[in-house]
Subunit: 114 residues, 2 copies
């Protein structure tokens, strides 16, 4: 036996279909506008108009991106009168977001050392 950190030699390779879905999920995170929306929603729900103001983009562009985020199950809408408030659907969203940020910062900090 070896004392390497990763003991689980699981040939747990998901099928191609699952990996495709996984790539589709990350693709949703892989756009600057959508990430900015997610980032804005970390502090709580926000309506479409407010989002478009915060990001300095047209309402239509935001709405289109919200639809993609919604289809992916990353955000969910709440209607209140004429306005629709969006919020993160799931704690996983924040976890994935934070994990990505951690990676970036990790890479930034080793930049000078290597």
């Amino acid at each position: 036996m070896q004392e390497h950190p990763n003991e689980n030699k699981s040939p747990d390779i998901p099928d191609t279909d699952t990996l495709y879905n996984l790539s589709e999920l990350f693709k949703v995170f892989g756009d600057a506008t959508r990430i900015r929306i997610i980032s804005a929603l970390l502090d709580g729900e926000m309506c479409v108009f407010h989002l478009s103001e915060a990001l300095g983009m047209g309402q239509s562009a935001i709405s289109h991106q919200l639809r993609i985020l919604r289809s992916a199950g990353l955000v969910k809408p709440r209607r209140s009168g004429k306005t629709v408030f969006y919020s993160l659907d799931d704690e996983h969203v924040k976890l994935i977001y934070d994990m990505g940020l951690a990676h970036i910062r990790h890479k930034n900090n080793e930049g000078g050392a290597l």
Copy 2:
């Protein structure tokens, strides 16, 4: 004042530049070929030829994608004679990958319930 659930009003919103880099990171995960490469490398290093065989794709396509993965700091090469072995650069890669899988499975399991 209102008593909304999210009290932590942390204006910890990263600057647009950082969020752009974050989206670029997720964009790298957001391709089926690259995710399959990452998935294959979870079990250990693999050479380019073997990877192209495992994925049933041309060597050039794999090489192109490996370059993207390498630039993003997700995989690293190790040369041994003529062959180059690739492995995951960083534990974060597996963490992000696993987090994404967890999200997908989570969503699949709530599909019937909601």
